[in-house]
Symmetry: C2
Subunit: 273 residues, 2 copies
């Protein structure tokens, strides 16, 4: 097998399985190549991905050595992707009666969601999160793709516990609009002492997010961070320390307007790597 072929196979494997560790030994066996040769292949892949803004390859040296692919967009690429989504969201025909913004189609569009999820994942590569937690329903694809990019599982909290999921832990929480809701997780869904990354599509006051934090306390789970696709500007919030990709404001009561979040914009101006 020639270099070009090995690079095609290794790149396919790494890109399809982000944040998944592959030993050099397994590649060496499959591709019938010396580890030194494979190391050269991987160096080329790593440099090339980095230059194209798609992320980088982490290398672990030694006998148990191997590689994993970390998707991480540059701040410029992240901002550019989010700007494109904002432009789509700001088309006038998306405004529904009541001033609501129609964006369900965006939330379940793989071509868009997987890019946005990689921006969030890139921020939490070293957070130690063992799983992503989300609350059903609309944010599931975004949370799932964030988990995918981080190479960890997703856990979905439900409004009600289901008989087919066994014993469950439920909590009650107040939404931002003041109504009392329930949130439930099967007991066996989470290992006590692990670490969660909370991901959802939308945050306003943060009632649901606070509910998820409360639920994690019940499981003796730490929260490594909270990330949302869209945040609505609010004076009073139930939570802090979260990041969001886009901000929803209302220049007039009936017209929603979406812009990249200041977090995203600041990263570019600060020249953060």
């Amino acid at each position: 097998m020639k270099r070009a072929q090995r690079i095609a196979i290794i790149t396919e494997r790494l890109i399809f399985n982000p944040n998944t560790f592959f030993t050099l030994t397994s590649f060496s066996r499959e591709l019938e190549a010396a580890k030194s040769t494979l190391s050269e292949d991987i160096a080329i892949i790593s440099d090339t991905l980095k230059q194209s803004g798609a992320g980088f390859v982490l290398t672990k040296q030694g006998i148990q050595g191997g590689v994993s692919y970390c998707p991480k967009y540059s701040p410029e690429k992240a901002l550019k992707e989010v700007q494109a989504v904002c432009k789509t969201l700001n088309t006038p025909n998306r405004v529904l009666p009541g001033g609501f913004l129609y964006w369900s189609d965006i939330l379940s569009n793989p071509a868009i969601i997987k890019k946005l999820a990689r921006i969030v994942a890139g921020e939490f590569l070293n957070s130690g999160a063992d799983f992503v937690l989300t609350m059903e329903t609309k944010g599931i694809p975004f949370a799932f793709m964030t988990a995918e990019a981080l190479g960890i599982p997703l856990v979905m909290a439900r409004r009600m516990s289901k008989v087919y999921e066994g014993s469950a832990v439920s909590i009650n929480y107040f939404t931002g609009s003041g109504s009392l809701e329930s949130m439930s997780l099967p007991k066996r869904a989470i290992k006590p002492g692990s670490t969660a990354l909370i991901v959802d599509d939308f945050i306003k006051k943060g009632g649901t997010a606070l509910g998820m934090c409360t639920l994690m306390k019940e499981f003796d789970v730490q929260v490594a961070g909270m990330a949302f696709m869209l945040s609505q500007n609010q004076q009073q919030r139930f939570i802090s320390g979260d990041i969001s990709l886009m901000t929803l404001s209302r220049p007039s009561e009936a017209v929603p307007y979406v812009t990249p979040s200041s977090w995203l914009k600041d990263r570019v101006s600060e020249g953060e790597e």
Copy 2:
């Protein structure tokens, strides 16, 4: 830029964007290489992916020529992946009180779901489906990843219509257990005259699946096919013509047992490509 680098970049782009068309012109501009050179690069990638069982690259000739990546597992690879999932599902500690099988963790595990979704997608590459339809909640990741692999959007039907999604079409349907449920979709979620692929996690009698078919009729949408991750053996079904990856049987009332579906096994014995 050398061949090895070009192959790394093109492979990354194709694998991250399955069933998405890239023109040779755009690659030629970005990689500063002649189209004839790129055609050679792509031939290497295509042959290599095919040999490794990861799918193939479709090439469109001519001035508007370009390429797209079609993920398609060989029947053997598909069966092997599903067998591994069955083995996980058949561990005794997954049996819950009432004889229910705990598998929520599998349904939201990206490492597993994306492989299973590619098996379904490989079957519907030429189905003409414009979108994948699923009914909330548990099957969303599987349906989303099937849509991702096919390069089309996902549409999620909900139990209730939401004010923030505008006017909706709702239908009532009977579940297999005889209860009456509702299913709703925003009017603007679907273009009349398009084609749907129905994907869900589980099918028993097919009440929900029939409901989705009824809903599609309301939208003047054709159904290209129906695919499920797990099917429970039933004498009387509301629908037919669907495929599933795994079959759930109950050797004794309290013990669920999961095996690869006969559809998957037959493909291997028939030597289908």
